[in-house]
């Protein structure tokens, strides 16, 4: 087990470097640069900029320097936002995305699991139908529609909640969290329901029942552990992407999160910032995948790590 974790952790490093390398290559292939604008710079000024940022060196030297810095976990300064280091920017904006993402995750898990479980237990009941219809709605309404509809109702009709911006404490978090959680909530509910239905028909549940366990412990001790495996494999990466920030929700609600910054960095050709965020996110995702893989072992005794 420990061996497995160690091995996987070690793989993360070359994987992250590979991701960064590929990203770097893609940025370099794209035309344009961070300083190009409608007005041409005098050649000498352009030369100065290129020297200042080491762009006049051969590509392998630039690549080597970049890799060296990344190994030292120093992504350098943003090219667009002068005087701001990439580390500082990620450190500053990640918490916004993480807060919204984590709250959305908890909300989605809580409601999704609950609804899915109840629907599975009362299969073909009105609750089952209505909750699954609701889930279908959640899945099919994209968040760029849901967000504005929520704003319209709660901010512009009822004036209960602010329509956007971070400022106002808990009240400014409610709408983005619901918007973000909706689709995950729906997905988790459906996965839970399907997983539970399948597990409850399996042999070991029948054995458990045959042993005379009460329905409650059959469900919670045996059924749930197997039933939520699909949910776990879904929510692991989902948590990573939720924490990393989602562009649409951050744009609609003007949240200064990492997703927003990431898109801007690409549009600005802000290479160090792009690479920094890519490295950060890829490591985050790989760690969450690892956590998911480990949790399988606890949930399903049939899975062993070699």
């Amino acid at each position: 087990m420990l061996n497995f974790i160690l091995r996987r952790l070690l793989i993360i490093i070359p994987m992250a470097l590979l991701v960064v390398t590929v990203t770097w290559g893609l940025i370099r292939m794209a035309p344009g640069n961070f300083y190009i604008s409608e007005r041409s710079l005098p050649p000498a000024v352009e030369q100065n900029i290129r020297e200042k940022y080491g762009l006049d060196k051969p590509w392998y030297q630039q690549y080597g320097l970049m890799m060296l810095n990344i190994v030292k976990l120093d992504f350098g300064e943003s090219l667009r936002y002068t005087g701001q280091s990439v580390n500082e920017i990620i450190y500053r904006h990640f918490p916004y995305s993480a807060t919204i993402g984590l709250l959305a995750y908890l909300l989605a898990l809580f409601i999704g699991l609950g609804a899915g479980l109840l629907a599975a237990l009362r299969q073909n009941s009105p609750f089952d139908y209505s909750s699954m219809a609701f889930a279908m709605l959640g899945l099919s309404v994209p968040n760029f529609v849901l967000g504005p509809v929520l704003v319209l109702v709660f901010s512009l009709w009822l004036f209960w909640l602010p329509p956007a911006r971070w400022g106002g404490g808990i009240s400014s978090v409610i709408l983005p969290v619901i918007t973000l959680a909706a689709i995950y909530m729906a997905y988790i509910a459906r996965l839970t329901r399907a997983g539970m239905l399948e597990v409850m028909r399996s042999d070991y549940i029948r054995t458990a029942r045959a042993k005379g366990l009460n329905e409650r412990s059959v469900l919670l001790k045996h059924g749930l552990r197997g039933g939520i495996i699909p949910v776990v494999s879904f929510t692991g990466p989902a948590l990573a992407s939720l924490l990393a920030g989602t562009v649409v929700v951050e744009k609609v609600f003007a949240i200064p999160g990492l997703g927003n910054i990431f898109i801007q960095s690409v549009l600005n050709r802000d290479e160090p910032l792009i690479l920094g965020i890519v490295a950060f996110l890829s490591i985050l995702i790989m760690i969450f995948n690892l956590v998911v893989d480990i949790s399988y072992g606890f949930l399903d005794p049939r899975i062993r790590y070699e």
């Binding site: 344009g32 050649p43 004036f159 003007a254």
Partner: protein
């Protein structure tokens, strides 16, 4: 499975329809104001300023979102008039311009201080302006100062040429019959104090060559005369001290220009020319704009900067004009999502937005709020550049045909916020120039046997367009209800635009126009901005590229200069030395009307060659709460924040803002008049002195 998918789609559609239905319902309910409208109890302004500022360093960023924010924190020699954007006194309480128009003398007020209490002196301006040009800073805006003597050669790393005897090579030495050994005559102009630096500045222009070996050799190879003149002489790199900025004393600042630039004073209000605190910049380097380090020179201090969230400006009580700063706190929200900012506005959480912020789908509705919606002409134009270097667009008649085949009035109606444009300077921004232009055009038209009616029909003339295309060898034939042009080389013409909903809509409109009027279907391509720029600059497009141009200062020259020199940024490949000469000649004229006439001649020359398809003059298109006063829809959407105030008495709120530029707000007018007083006093005393002199002579 198929059923599920279509159910999903139906449900999604139902929601969208429902949402738009809901929106529709609210729009029919007519209320006096757009959303929650109540004046705040404190003097606070919440302003949506556009995308996140690249930097708060006045010399670094080029964008308008930055300009709006920086103007709160930094003062310059002059400030923009809140309506006309003309220069009004700021740190310079008055100024004089030399008779030949190449020297400016500024008298700084003695009570101006930085936010840390240090006095603002002429030396600080010298430091700021030199820094702004330094090749190390590599400011993209440096070109704004290129009219200052030796600014461009310093910024672009050039050198003077000096012989063994210490004589510098002058441009006049290159003229036939000149004696390079002799020092050229210095013509001292007695403008301001006589100093060694001033005499140096009054010398004729020295020759400058690139300091970099490779570029210098390349230049000299091309110019044998220059090569001969430079041979055997050493090159002396131009330094910041050579640029035409001079602090005569703590409160007198002099600028020497290369040649007259009548718009130069107006340019000095630009954020690029706003003064920074030298010790702070030196001490903290790139970190100097952080809230804990920054020292400001304007009406407001930086309280907090949370990127992508807010920039908080608080009134600086030690500011020299603090008594006339009415808003205690400005919260700038760096947002660029239109729907989001309008939601905030409707919910009463934002008081005003920047320009072009009402999405076209909302305009019909927002327009109803006559006390809030501001649509005024802007010093911004939209046009399509034509790649004139490739067939068939290298043919003037083809270019003219495409330009004529667009119904600009229909386009303006479709866009809702713009005005049709047939020339290259915006409509309704420079009335005096437009007057001069009308005069010049009528003369030139008569000379070219063109009737004024025909000229006016440049707005749209499908018939002539077809005829011209026929004359160019691509006859247009009647086909059914429309037209066809079978011989036209379709594969060589396309439209490329940078990705945006608006640009797409315009491109599709033009595509339809050309199909309808010429029978030619031009394919459309879009590109992300940073990909679009290098491709269009290198003329790697066939046919048309979408472009816009925003004035840097309030003078038609800011538009016409786009075609100046062979290396111009017009992305058309069009260039004509005669055009350059007309512009140069124009700027040498000190009489504004004569200068405008010359500029108009240049514009006529360029437009007759049709390197562009002019489309429209933009409109301001933004919104503010009626209780925000002193905030005007000027042509550049730059605001001098100290004129803004919050009016708590609803009876005095702005009404029918269509007239906001004509209506006089006594409070603002008085504030401007008070500021102008020092300059008027100086002008009056100068006039008096002049009259006395002439009287004495008589």
């Amino acid at each position: 499975m198929k059923g599920t998918r279509s159910t999903q789609i139906h449900l999604g559609l139902a929601i969208v329809v429902l949402a738009s239905f809901i929106t529709g319902c609210t729009s029919s309910a007519s209320t006096k104001f757009f959303g929650q409208t109540a004046a705040p109890s404190e003097n606070v302004l919440r302003y949506v300023s556009g995308s996140e500022p690249q930097s708060l360093d006045p010399q670094v960023p080029t964008g308008q979102p930055e300009a709006r924010v920086i103007m709160a924190f930094f003062d310059g020699l002059v400030e923009y008039h809140p309506k006309s954007m003309e220069a009004i006194p700021a740190i310079a309480e008055s100024w004089e311009v030399s008779d030949d128009g190449t020297e400016y003398l500024f008298h700084l007020r003695k009570n101006a201080t930085f936010s840390n209490g240090a006095p603002i002196t002429a030396g600080d301006f010298v430091y700021t302006f030199r820094r702004a040009l330094s090749p190390e800073l590599a400011a993209e805006n440096a070109y704004l100062a290129y009219y200052v003597k030796y600014a461009e050669p310093y910024n672009s790393g050039q050198s003077f040429v000096r012989d063994k005897n210490g004589h510098f090579l002058h441009q006049s030495d290159l003229e036939p019959g000149a004696d390079p050994a002799a020092e050229p005559p210095v013509k001292p102009d007695n403008f301001g104090a006589d100093t060694e630096f001033h005499r140096k500045m009054d010398e004729p222009m020295r020759v400058t060559v690139p300091s970099d070996e490779k570029s210098r050799t390349a230049l000299l190879e091309k110019d044998p005369k220059l090569k001969a003149a430079v041979a055997g002489k050493e090159s002396i790199p131009i330094t910041a001290e050579d640029v035409g900025y001079e602090a005569i004393d703590d409160h007198t600042f002099r600028i020497k220009l290369l040649q007259p630039a009548p718009y130069f004073l107006g340019l000095l209000a630009h954020q690029y020319f706003r003064v920074v605190h030298p010790p702070t910049v030196e001490k903290f380097g790139t970190q100097w704009t952080k809230p804990e380090n920054i020292v400001t020179s304007g009406a407001y201090k930086l309280e907090a900067h949370k990127p992508y969230d807010e920039v908080i400006a608080v009134k600086d009580p030690t500011y020299w004009d603090a008594a006339n700063v009415h808003v205690d706190r400005i919260e700038f929200y760096p947002l660029d999502e239109q729907t989001t900012m309008l939601n905030l506005y409707k919910a009463g959480r934002v008081d005003a937005t920047y320009n072009h912020t009402i999405p076209s789908g909302w305009i019909e509705r927002v327009k109803e709020f006559k006390d809030e919606y501001l649509l005024f002409p802007e010093a911004v134009i939209e046009y399509y550049s034509i790649n004139t270097t490739q067939a068939p667009m290298n043919n003037l008649k083809v270019r003219q045909a495409f330009a004529l085949a667009v119904d600009r009035e229909a386009l303006a109606k479709f866009r809702k916020t713009v005005k049709p444009l047939t020339d290259f300077t915006p409509v309704g921004i420079f009335p005096r120039y437009e007057e001069a232009r009308t005069k010049v055009y009528s003369g030139l038209l008569a000379k070219n046997n063109v009737t004024p009616e025909e000229w006016d029909k440049r707005l749209f003339d499908g018939e002539k367009a077809r005829r011209l295309l026929g004359e160019a060898g691509f006859p247009v034939q009647k086909q059914g209800a429309g037209w066809a042009c079978p011989t036209f080389p379709f594969e060589n013409v396309s439209v490329v635009y940078n990705t945006s909903e608006n640009n797409k809509a315009v491109a599709e409109f033009l595509q339809a126009q050309w199909k309808q009027n010429l029978g030619i279907t031009v394919p459309l391509n879009n590109m992300e901005w940073k990909t679009f720029l290098p491709s269009t600059k290198a003329l790697e497009f066939k046919g048309f590229a979408r472009r816009g141009w925003v004035a840097d200062y309030m003078d038609p020259f800011t538009f016409l200069a786009l075609f100046y020199s062979a290396k111009n940024d017009s992305s058309t490949g069009w260039h004509d030395p005669r055009y350059d000469k007309l512009l140069d000649d124009a700027n040498k004229l000190t009489d504004p009307d004569a200068r405008f006439e010359k500029l108009a001649e240049a514009e006529f020359m360029m437009m007759s060659q049709q390197p562009v398809v002019p489309l429209s003059t933009a409109g301001t298109n933004w919104i503010k709460k009626p209780y925000v006063k002193g905030l005007y829809p000027n042509a550049g959407t730059v605001h001098a924040w100290k004129f803004v105030y919050i009016e708590r008495d609803p009876a005095k709120w702005d009404k029918n803002v269509e007239n906001i530029m004509k209506d006089e707000d006594p409070r603002v007018e008085q504030q401007i008049a008070q500021l102008m007083q020092s300059q008027l006093n100086l002008e009056r005393s100068k006039d008096l002195a002049k009259n006395e002199n002439t009287a004495a002579v008589e």
